[in-house]
Symmetry: C2
Subunit: 356 residues, 2 copies
């Protein structure tokens, strides 16, 4: 589907306000996961935007982020008009974020079809992604349904929500959104053949999104409409935004809407949720070691070294994750990567803001 | 024994030309072990010299080192006359080093008693050390014997040479010098009660040292005497020095001399030969961890973290040695500390001189 001839041009809305502590010491308050090149050589934000090259023109790519990350986001994406980086006064979950994008964009591109993407997910197979995106955009424009992407489960993950579907074909009818399931239920979902991971990517016309919010979550929209009606003064946004409920778009809209479709995706996808997930993207050597940067491993096995500017030598060690950064170093057992959160919590409790 | 009233004043000769790779990445070619504060807050060189404060005047403390370390050695010891840092044109083992010290010092302090000390050993109990030193100096001056210090073995170490003695009292007669023994022999030595570790510290009058070298190792002395006779021109030293055999003083002199005594020491001593030895000087926490610098250890045991300028977090790891430095990091299993040598060898083979 060509961008120029489309009556309903695709508008990309990249949500890029994520924080995330699970990639400490690389990720910091001012350097969240989307700013990191933990998978591939580009940052996840760059990958997300560049994946649309030649398919969605820069004028129709919007990035929503928070005040403190806006300047760096604009610096990283000079190809976008600066005003396309939409600034949330504060993070209030995804429904307010996307409602703000709606009121900002609908004035400029009223007939647009809005594709909601995440700045910190990895997607393989660009061509398949763009084809699936086109299918979702066509469905949203033609059938006037809210469309979501469904990732085919490869194991019984209990940390994601699931989309329940029925029917056949490239676009399916959604029968329910399911919360993060217990293990036994996740296994049923995996085996059912009609459940998909909810990756938080959506496609809808701006008009349908407005109508959906008005019907199912008017409190997420009304304060923003009042702000626009009063002249959309930037300095008045924080007051309006503060009135919005902190709620996810899944809960505010998707679970309540009657006419929702899902496109089962064909591209490979990962939310790159932790260091072990990032390791999966690297090729291991014969001893099972993954090492980036200037490293030397002697008699070591199943280690992952994310080197920084310095040389790192490891000798006689197994099953370690080592992450270097300019001012901090992490060494943890590979099966304890979740304890990175404990480190970050401890730093926060001790007021070590320079390391957060 | 007071320094000023002694007819035979004590002259300290600190051998400080050591290289040593076992403390990589802290120790480097230009920053050998004696320049490091791996035990205590002062460098081992500073500790060695300051241990003599008030006992041997700075004018009678000499440090022998190599050309490349001379400037830094003088900078670190501003209290010594600069000319008291004696510069070996190259390292040729301890006999040439001490012969050079002899010909340099005997012109200034012909009646001196020379105490040979190592710049990179740790000595506890300063008062006991000074008392033992005085006993050795008195014996050397009065009995005109070559005196060595003997460290009472605390375990059957196979990496040191042993001094075999007979008799009783604070100064014993040496009956033999023994090479590094196999384990069974080391155990016999430990149990004999008359064997001591040879720590490479010696005391002798300058006159007796000259006579000993002339008798047992004339080739170590003759080229230096010729150099002095020709005017002791600094630029001519390298040519003279190159003629000296590369030999240890133990082999060149001590094993051949007939009249050698040993002072069994009462002070605590360590040659601080490796990272595990350095760990012994630190107090471990309840989980067996030793950590220096800005560190956070969660659910980790028996680790030793030698932190540098950066924060180091360890989680869920056991039995590791971690050593940070500005440009390199070492992580190794605690029982594999000797593999540091393999790392250094590999760096050398790969021409990574910036890390050596």
């Amino acid at each position: 589907m060509s961008d120029t001839t489309n009556v309903n041009p695709t508008v990309a809305v990249v949500m890029a306000g994520g924080r995330g502590t699970r990639f400490w010491p690389r990720s910091r308050n001012a350097r969240p996961k989307q700013f990191l090149a933990i998978v591939g050589t580009e940052t996840l934000l760059h990958q997300t935007v560049h994946r649309l090259d030649g398919h969605v023109s820069p004028e129709r790519i919007f990035v929503v982020t928070t005040e403190d990350l806006a300047e760096e986001t604009r610096r990283m994406l000079p190809e976008l008009p600066p005003e396309n980086v939409i600034v949330e006064p504060e993070g209030r979950n995804t429904a307010p974020c996307l409602a703000l994008a709606l009121v900002e964009i609908e004035q400029k591109i009223p007939n647009g079809v809005m594709a909601v993407l995440s700045a910190d997910h990895w997607i393989g197979d660009r061509e398949l992604f763009l084809a699936d995106l086109d299918a979702a955009v066509a469905h949203a424009a033609d059938k006037r349904e809210l469309v979501t992407f469904g990732i085919k489960p490869t194991y019984p993950e209990t940390g994601y929500g699931y989309i329940e579907s029925e029917g056949q074909g490239p676009v399916l009818k959604v029968t329910a959104f399911r919360e993060k399931p217990p293990a036994a239920v996740a296994l049923q979902y995996l085996e059912s053949g009609r459940h998909y991971w909810n990756a938080g990517m959506f496609v809808w016309t701006l008009a349908d999104f407005r109508q959906g919010l008005q019907q199912h979550a008017p409190d997420v929209l009304a304060p923003l409409d009042a702000w626009v009606a009063a002249g959309a003064r930037p300095e008045a946004l924080a007051d309006a935004y503060r009135q919005l409920p902190k709620v996810a778009i899944d809960v505010a809209l998707m679970e309540r809407a009657s006419s929702v479709a899902v496109v089962p995706t064909r591209f490979r996808w990962s939310d790159v949720g932790s260091w072990p997930a990032a390791i999966e993207f690297q090729e291991a050597d014969a001893a099972g070691n993954v090492s980036l940067g200037d490293t030397l491993l002697l008699d070591s096995h199943n280690c992952a070294i994310f080197g920084g500017k310095r040389f790192i030598a490891a000798s006689g060690v197994d099953d370690l994750i080592v992450v270097d950064s300019d001012d901090a170093l992490l060494i943890c057992r590979r099966d304890r990567a979740q304890s990175v959160k404990d480190v970050v919590e401890r730093l926060r409790a001790e007021g070590r803001t320079e390391l957060l």
